[in-house]
Subunit: 127 residues, 2 copies
C-alpha cells in the first residue's frame, strides 16, 4: 500500500486523516457504498460538490488505492468508480460517523438500517 | 445541540464532517482520550500542530460542545480541556479510523490495546 511521502507521525489516526481528513472524501465514499458509480451521480448528491473538488478527490482516492475506476464509454471516455477492499475497509468508520451524527446533531436524517448493518462487499445494485 | 447554520444536507455523515472533517480535530481528540489536557501537551504531539491551528480547533470544538475547558491558572489565565459526552461519543470513530490505518497504511504504530478497548469515560490520568 502506498505510504505518504512525508507522514506527520506513525499514528494510524493522523495517517488516515492525511488521506480522508477533509469534508468531502468520506461523502464520496458514502455514495459509493450506496451504489453510485458515475461522476454525474456524485455531482447530483445534495451536498453539491463542485466538479473540480470531485475530480481532485476521485484522483486522490484512486491513487491511494481506496477506489478503482474502469471505462464504461468511449468518445468521450467515461469512467465508473467503485470501492476496493481498502475502500470498503472504511465502511465501519462511515457507520460510526453516522451513528454519532444521528445522536448528536439535531435534525440529521436517520441512516437506513441497510446502511448501518451493511458489510463490506458489492453494492446494492450488483446484488 | 447546536446545528450548523447552513448544513450541506441532512446527512449525518456530511454534517459530522462539517465539524470534524479536517486533518487536525480528531488528532486533538485522540490526545484528549489519551489524557492530554493542556495547550502545551497538544503542541508537543509529534504531528507538530501549529499554535494558530490548535487555537482555532479548540475554540471550534468547544463551540460545538465536543470539548469543555476550565481555568487551572490565573495571571496569565490558562485552561485545561477535556471531552464532553458528545466528545467521548467520537471514540468509536477514532477506534475505527485506527483499525483502518493499522490495516491499510504500512508502518503505522499499532494502537495500544488500552486505546482500542477504551470505553467513553474519564481519562487514564483520572483513574
Amino acid at each position: 500500500m502506498p505510504r505518504l511521502s512525508s507522514p506527520r507521525s506513525g499514528c494510524p489516526i493522523a495517517n488516515t486523516l492525511e488521506i480522508v481528513g477533509d469534508r468531502w472524501s468520506l461523502v464520496i465514499l458514502r455514495d459509493m457504498v450506496n451504489g453510485k458509480r458515475r461522476y454525474s451521480d456524485f455531482l447530483a448528491s445534495p451536498e453539491g460538490i463542485t466538479t473540480n473538488v470531485l475530480a481532485d478527490r476521485l484522483a486522490m482516492l484512486e491513487r491511494q488505492g481506496i477506489i478503482a475506476s474502469e471505462p464504461y464509454q468511449r468518445r468521450p471516455q467515461r469512467f465508473e468508480y467503485g470501492l476496493t477492499e481498502k475502500g470498503w475497509g472504511l465502511l465501519p468508520v462511515l457507520q460510526e460517523i453516522c451513528r454519532w451524527g444521528n445522536r448528536f446533531i439535531d435534525g440529521t436524517w436517520v441512516a437506513p438500517d441497510a446502511f448501518m448493518r451493511r458489510k463490506p462487499g458489492v453494492s446494492d445494485e450488483e446484488r
